[in-house]
């Protein structure tokens, strides 16, 4: 067999081993495989189990590929060359049947997992969930805490081991709200309210981002998701409630103007129902508001 092919084969094995080795050694740094929250953990378990199941097919394929090349390469002696042999019922049954069985198993896992991990499904817990409303803007994330009467940009803090109930919308193109360390994402769409339920198992600082292109400043749409102790959280809320900046219709209008790589900011929530108004203005023509310029829907950038 040709030298290049032999070399390529060994290189392939080496590359695969190095890759798998590096992943395993660095698994702590791989958010999806080492998440910090229950939802992410369940998703990660599903991922790993699915891969193992599929390896049942994939590994024999690789071995077979190597074997037929090694044994039947034209320079080798051929005692069993059989140019007309082209059918085997047993073989067909096996390679139609076994993958079907694995797919059915994966299907059941998907059914169960999709229901258990439905983003709209609240997390069952003794602790009362924290409500955070999320608005994707160009090009930053606005967070409204309706029960605490505060709002933040590009930063959220929440207590550990507490379910967080996110309601998500957009006043910008389609975005995707994602905190990989805690769990999967969901789209943020104007005129609609998506939901996501996450929980952090411990204390830490996690990276959040948008996973759907929304224009020039898209890459700057990262935010910090801070999980802290309950006391620290309550302290933070208290100081936020004393923030000098109010978030009302006027300051919202300013905020909604395009800007990117925004530094985190904290507001007092000056307008109850701001989130619902942001959702509804895309659905129905909204009555003219007292503030100037808020009765027309097309943003005037």
């Amino acid at each position: 067999m040709n030298k290049l092919v032999k070399f390529a084969f060994f290189l392939l094995i080496l590359l695969s081993a190095v890759f798998i080795g590096l992943v395993v050694l660095n698994i702590e740094n791989i958010a999806v495989l080492s998440p910090e929250g229950m939802i992410g953990q369940k998703q990660s378990n599903l991922l790993v189990l699915s891969i193992y199941l599929m390896l049942i097919i994939v590994i024999p394929v690789f071995i077979l590929a190597w074997f037929v090349v090694w044994k039947y390469e034209v320079s080798k002696k051929h005692t069993d060359y059989d140019p007309e042999w082209n059918h085997s019922t047993i073989a067909e049954i096996i390679w139609w049947g076994v993958p079907c069985i694995i797919v059915i198993i994966l299907g059941v896992m998907t059914w169960k997992g999709s229901h258990a991990l439905d983003p709209f499904k609240p997390i069952v817990s003794d602790t009362k969930p924290l409500r955070i409303q999320v608005v994707a803007l160009q090009w930053k994330w606005l967070f409204i805490y309706p029960e605490q009467n505060i709002a933040t940009v590009n930063f959220i803090q929440f207590p550990e081991k507490t379910p967080i109930a996110f309601e998500i919308t957009s006043d910008a193109p389609m975005n995707s709200f994602w905190i990989p360390d805690l769990g999967g994402q969901i789209y943020a769409m104007s005129g609609m309210k998506s939901q996501l339920h996450l929980i952090a198992d411990g204390i830490g600082s996690y990276r959040g981002l948008s996973a759907n292109i929304s224009g020039d400043g898209f890459s700057g749409m990262t935010f910090v998701a801070q999980s802290s102790s309950l006391e620290d959280f309550e302290e933070w809320v208290a100081s936020a409630q004393n923030s000098p900046d109010p978030l009302n219709f006027q300051s919202y209008r300013e905020l909604a103007k395009p800007s990117s790589y925004n530094v985190p900011a904290i507001y007092q929530l000056g307008e109850e129902g701001l989130f619902d108004w942001i959702v509804m203005k895309y659905v129905m023509p909204m009555p003219a508001h007292k503030e100037k310029g808020m009765n027309h829907v097309f943003p005037t950038y």
Binding site: L4, G40, L47, Y72, P99, L106, S114, I213, F298
Partner: protein, 672 residues
Amino acid sequence: MFFQHIKVRLAAIEYSDIFGRLTLEAFKHDAIEASVGISIIFGSIILVAVLTYYKLWTWLWTEWLTSVDHKKIGVMYLVVTVLMLFKGVVDALMMRAQQVLSVGDSFGYLTSSHYQQLFTAHGTTMIFFVAMGAVAALMNIIVPLQIGARDVAFPFLNNLSFWLFAVGASLLMVSLMIGEFSGAGWVGYPPLSGLEYNPGVGIDYWIWSLQISGIGSLLTGINFLVTIFKMRCPGMTLMKMPLFVWSVFNSVILIVFAFPILTATLAMLSLDRLLGMHFFTSDFGGSAMMYVNLIWAWGHPEVYILILPAFGVFSEVVATFSEKRLFGYVSMVWALISITILSFLVWLHHFFTMGAGPNVNTFFGFMTMIIAVPTGVKVFNWLFTMYKGKVHLTNPILWFLGFVFIFTIGGMTGVLMGVAPVDFQVHGSLFLIAHFHSMVVGGVLFGLIAGYVYWFPKIFGFKLNEKLGEYAWFCWMFGFLLTALPLYALGLMGATRRMDHYEASTGWAPLFVVAAIGAIIIFCGIGFQVLQLLVSFKERNKNRDLTGDPWNGRTLEWTTSSPPPVYNFAFIPEVKDRDAFWDQKQTGIPLHGEYKEIHMPKNTPLGFYIGVLSFTFSFGLIWYMMWLAAISFVGIVVCILLRLFDQHTDFYISAAEVKKIEEQTLKNKRFV
């Protein structure tokens, strides 16, 4: 009044009567864009100069541009494809470089706007003008030969399809120089692609580039569906067709059912943008989600349109180079058919994260996993073809083996993402990018390159240099893995796609460096392929294929000379079994009677003219030069009428001439 209303919409945006919204601003670009534009112009000038110096214009016009010969049309597709491959790879290299440099305080060398145009253009170019172009090329050249036909069912439409394809590519290239291209991704989701967020010309260039070439693809689909159905030679029942023809057959069925969805969807988006409609706007009742559903209802079948012919190539290549019948022919055919049907039932897996709910997600996830079963069946059948065969490790087989590794990994990650809750954590990330590149590079591209190498002697009359082909394969194989493996990891680390900057604290930079090195190695692979072409051309006399059958082939295309005569077959073959030529070799080549005159279609410039008018029509609509669009439209209608009422669209090759051509090549054929 009704027509006043149309004017009202357009009047909302500033535009002049003659130049529309085209101003000098459109010609201003940053240094990088400008240099690309200048090199395109430069290259064109050199091309024009060469053609003029060697007095090749007439030859080019009569032999190629107006040709209705499927073989020549296929070669023209190949030329455009290769040019667009360069563009697409350069786009990729620029993106890799940006992602290496744009960390922390540095924002790289590209603006966000430019970066967005790059990834949009990269995806659009690769899918529509490289992959579709290469599929069209192979389909055109090989299918009529493999079914024992003299041409396709509608040769004029075939020529027209090519020109529409070329016009689509031209619009994309022109956007580099005049105006800008879209930055909304290759599928262009609204509201980002709507008027509110992107009022400029970029999205419109993208829309018309796809719309025009999409019509070309649709015509090709109709053409080949009819050709395969109606023009097989006597004795070739459907179950005796070569697998490549079966795969193309399924692919064109997909085209015929999927592309009209794209046509309608792009039309609605352009109505939103041109006439202020509200199909996909955020407000006034529009639904961006509807667009997402429609575009993927087309988009998923589209990727199967690309992969099925690649599978077909592998079926041919593996059987020929194992000197053995393809294993499980019937099973393979049913696998193709099930993939074709299933491909219409999986589209939602592109947006599990849009919130359809667990039941809907599960259905589509399950369908996605099922489609992996027939695909896996095909891989097993190929490997069992090699089992107990005599396996020649030729270039095409190397590409096949590379495919087995890369495509299987990609397929595995695809099924993984079919588990919807898992997809929530990897959707829109670099993991997704690595997955689909494994499929399109490891699957589509490797398959089409294998086909290119395998059929090159048939098309051009001489073999390609084997050694350089091996080096090219090696670079592609390991370059790709070096690019893709880091991207799989990065996706799992939470890196999103389409990202032009990231924080240093992520620690991702070294992985992007490895990916960039991989991309450079791929570029070297392409360099080897270019070198291979040049060297092979120089040494063509040493490597001439004089027999028409350089690989001891099994199917009918190898019974013709290399390249085949314009009429393909002096006598339409009669077929008794699968692997018709192989069968003839065992049982004896049938004898033929007297040569007869052959009826051939005439060349025509109308396809070219309609193409040019489609370009000016699109350009007019993009830049609001309504007079230009109107005149172009009228021109197209006139061309159609001219074609309809042309009574002299064909001619005869006399029996004497056929005899002369055949006797020249006959003495070279090995088996006579």
